[in-house]
Symmetry: D3
């Protein structure tokens, strides 16, 4: 039977054990507060098999997943219909990874999951900064009368971190009040594209940084599989260039990739895009 | 401009005012506690335009929607991510309809919405009985650690109504414990099909009855557009026959049709099925 | 190169020349008057390649397409936006086939195309009778203010043929007026299924008969790919049984299969169903 | 019940009454002359619910739909199968809006609908000019033997307006004769992109201008949901830049957005794109 | 972290170790010889996550997967483009399971995979009989000039087993020659449905039996997700009744479920059907 | 009947006879060695009807298919499950075209088909060079233990042609070893885009050149319908610019367009893109 190989069920290139790994990937398949189109709960499970359609080698970084030991911790079972419990479990998982001296890399799920992870990371790094790539500001105080929500998540993170710690890029949608509130200096909001990301990465060189990437920062031409598509986004090549700036950061302490809703894109391209972003992020976080 | 007609936005045949109507239809587009595949939130909005692909005349009942005044009350805005608030709003809407001496006919949404409506109806009719058509028992106490959930909804209704008031038909899926608990006589559970519905309708002739139809009672061959399809269900002709038994009931005080997830069936057949069931139910409730 | 075979572009089993054939199949890809969901224009072009997924041998009839010479005449180019011109071209094509002493078997397109074909057939057979399988009566006088329309087509045929010549089966949708008008004896309308088709075929044994099959007579569980799906239809096995009655007819002078909208059924099942019906009809028409 | 909000059925931000509004949006869901893939009839009905997935605030214009009163007049019922009657109804609707001193903004439907609207606008503004964004020339004299057709519509408008009044941008498909006819100066045809739109808007500063946007001017990467996709189109960012030039026009007297076929793009991105274009156009027309 | 549960990647109810289990499930995701529509390679990977949408309890058998220890051995990596190597790996895997005294239950993949498994089982059980549920005879000698093929697989099994060992049910498609060859008594072919399965199971009571279920034996109304849909098949209830006959068999030594092509059925119903069949087969094989 | 036109079944503009034509197009619908998602077998059959949605006139080249005589030779019947036989038939077909002094233009199918064609072309042109546009290197020696495979095809061509003959563009995916092997000078590999194609075309001006275009060289935003989408590709405008460089080549002796999997892109855009590329390539090959 030496020739019978079996198909693997972890993310491609993430077959190392928890204890051996520096970076730990896990899935947070929650989409319970979405107002428009749900489906991000299927993100991690769609990405795993399709990640094998991709090479482990990145020509952009001239590096290979096989050069590192990375663990796929699996997906957390989510208590659908209970967002507080969902966030608690994300918090606990992130804590466990941090306690072991490893870096968490979460795959969503909707953007609200970031709150569970950031809350845990902040407890380890008081001087935490956030780089936030997104089409949407996510700075509302409430949304449809609910406070804890995919549209309020960055505001909730701000409530933990405070002024001047959050840097937003690619933003092209939000309420007027959100843009104006940001302008007051609470957060740094860059509209439409990644201009300025280079400088911000240099600025935050030695700070502990959490990177949260709402994949809808990409133009829906290349990433249609998401709940609230916003035309006018960045191209994949621009995102890859953005990733190269992350190499400046010496202390990425956690990250997430959120808002893939795979079934909304039957071509599978969105899932392939998410997988390639995950590959690049794993390599970047391991390099540091 | 006398020839320029405009397209209507209410359910076909439901253009009467609230005050003129005996039966009031409303949408409850909530799917926040679903464990497998979401999407029932789009049920009511998919049904409205497609209801015009259907005649207002029913050859089964030899009756026509145009013979009655029925109001489409519209869809309630749902606070996504907050099931308690969602149920409260359904409760309030149902109360308003009942207070005006009218009969509520709710279109889901996931099955949990029934709880909001039944709670209100029970306050008006202490002797309330429920006829429940479904593939699933929905009799769990908790599901994924959550108590208020699409899989526990009939158990929650039982907690209000008590023993002997609930009659289930078409059931073909559940945990062993649910089937055994039902067998103890708490509820009357008929497996697989509608056998016995005839007798139950005669038995409940003069009782106040709430009818809740989880459309997944139908075989997924004819109703694939639902979150948890269960092969082995009833045919559409069997359901139509079942509807004819409802004519025995002299006091249908409320009803609902739930669990259409229209995007899961790109052919549109499931939506057409739901629309035809709605037409029949409106006619049946108006006849009484 | 003797082993290099090329893929054929005619319906499977229909590779004979026009002059060699008794039965001539042609496509009428028109859907310009549809009120709900268009797409039947793609019926014939979807059926051709998929007809090769099917055997040429029918176990139902113990007969094989290879036992006969049948011509695929191709599809007529339709002047989209001009229904009169479209019907004229169908009329001309049917005339040409009849003039050559052959039997036309048209593949739609929407049901209106039948009018063009029946008009031509009636000119050859004054005593023409029609057997009509459909979910819908198609007996309106006008529809959305338009007289020539997929919902008025059988009424238009009636205007040519007169009382007592049209026999409808499987009908389960229509306006009240249509059912009542039929009841007066103008046409014979059988509701819901094919009950009575056996007797009608015996009755019309030696009459010239045109068979028009709106495939939505089938339940949408097995034929979802159609513009206006109507649950409660017949099963495929019932249709096959109905086909066996056609063998009683000694003078089938023309036929059509209409209302496949292949893109509405991404599974391809509806197209497979239409192909199998076409195979059976070709065999039945050749046997006579 | 003060907290129970109901879902609205008009385009987002268009809830004002007819009499209160300067700009009146209406739907013309007609696709009866399409030669390739139909489905634009579903454009307006798909856009209404999805328009709520979008903010009312435009960061591009730093303006908000809530700053204006805009009326959604609804969709006209179309007499399918009768293009003349369809155009008549569009004409009548546009007349009604113009008579009340308001600006019509029509949502198609196929491009032929523009002819009904332009005919009405021309009766009010003899010096009318047209800015036409499209992938296709639409300058044929006949198409498939039919004169009034989605591929002849701009030629038909030219027949009303005469030489030098029509400015085309983004054109990348047509018959050789169409390009050559345009070159003779009858219309001004800019190939491939919006280069020159800036100057044209300055040139037409004080003229009455009708803007017709066939959304397939966009590259199908961002707008796949259209009947005849033509690769090589403009990006969404280029279109947004084009919109900024429209602010130069002081007298936009009417406009339309056509050729969204929502079901051809199951991801919903095309519908989102159309909604964002509609938002921008409403703001631009209100600003003037 | 005691409350953080992780999602499992094996078939629902199949979490036992290889050594603990009597029945071993494995996936053979091969579809390299398909002539019409490929995609069965995605069968096992689509079934695993969706198997959790199903209960582990079967009301039909009043039994639960949790009553047994069953191992999910995973999917074999297939050498795409090399059918001989693919069959060899299936053979080796089946041998390994048999050598350990366990029963293999293979999930395809296309029907050709059965040949690899049957070849191994036959080496352990010389008196092997096969019960074959299918829409197609699969008795060709060659297909498109190729001998080893999804359309020849049962003929290849016959070549191993010899006359009188194979019992076919549900057959409704094949070449005339295949039906005639079968009639000579080489195999027992039952057309259209499962009539006679009861008797055959009694007849084979104490024989070693391999059961191969091509899921296209089901009517495509309930199982559209397969490469070559054949209308006129059995209902799910008929299949469940057929399963009850299998309880008569005292020596089921192996089995397979093949021909699910999940992407051809975007509703997910076909995958749900396959999962339920798998649950029933696991229970039946464990009971014995 | 003079007005009844029939729909044609060859590629638009390719209705000339074999003997009259300089360029002969044929389909090679084979996808038997694909490792990830199959479906390219449907490429040619999807392109034929959709090619009529496109004009025969190219504004890019100011040239028209009607200016040349081009033959559509049809599609080769492929022996599914036997890649050697498939390649043999492609080889034989290409030989036949070359023997008649014509230029073959093959439409795939998966990329492996190129090997059959190149092998034949090389026998006529010993000094053959290849220009290869692709996202993937396709330079593996074996893939999943199989040597002849879509991922090894260019390496197999290299084995025929030798060092320095192959020029790759747009490459953004491959194993580390492939990139390094290429770097040694065996082939010339240009990463990410078409930079350098201009010079290469000038360099190869008078050499016999075979052009193989794996359409996944395009970004999946514009070409999602392919088995292994790789974000970060070139735009359609860049490809059109690349085509203009091909006009420098004086001796294009053969070409192919491969890897369209039409069903993976339900919007039809990918098929439209492939058709437009085919139109341009036919014009370019005829011009020479």
């Amino acid at each position: 039977m030496s020739n019978v190989k079996k198909i693997k069920y972890h993310f491609s290139g993430c077959g190392a054990s928890f204890s051996d790994s520096d970076v730990v990937v896990f899935g947070a398949p929650f989409d319970g507060t979405v107002s428009f189109r749900p489906g991000t709960r299927f993100g991690p499970s769609a990405m795993r098999p399709d990640s094998y359609g991709l090479e482990t080698y990145s020509p952009y970084l001239d590096d290979d997943l096989s050069n590192y030991k990375t663990c796929d911790f699996g997906d957390i079972v989510m208590p659908y219909g209970d967002k507080d419990l969902a966030l608690l479990r994300i918090y606990e998982t992130t804590k466990k990874i941090l306690s072991a001296g490893k870096k968490p890399l979460m795959v969503g799920g909707e953007h609200l999951v970031t709150y569970g992870s950031v809350r845990a990371v902040f407890e380890s790094y008081e001087d935490l900064h956030i780089i936030h790539l997104d089409a949407h500001t996510d700075l509302r105080k409430t949304y449809y009368d609910v406070e804890l929500n995919h549209a309020t998540v960055i505001k909730k993170c701000y409530d933990i971190l405070g002024d001047g710690r959050i840097f937003q890029f690619g933003i092209r949608s939000g309420a007027k009040e959100e843009f104006h509130w940001a302008k007051k200096g609470h957060v740094t909001l860059h509209k439409y594209d990644l201009e300025g990301l280079d400088s911000v990465c240099k600025l935050l060189k030695d700070k502990p940084v959490y990177i949260t990437i709402d994949l809808d920062v990409l133009d829906p031409s290349i990433f249609p599989g998401t709940g609230t598509p916003e035309p006018g986004g960045i191209t994949f090549k621009e995102l890859i260039e953005g990733f190269s700036y992350f190499l400046e950061l010496e202390n990425i302490v956690g990250a997430d990739l959120v808002e893939l809703a795979p079934n909304l894109d039957p071509s599978g391209v969105s899932t392939a895009v998410a997988c390639k972003c995950l590959r690049e992020m794993i390599l970047i976080m391991n390099k540091k």
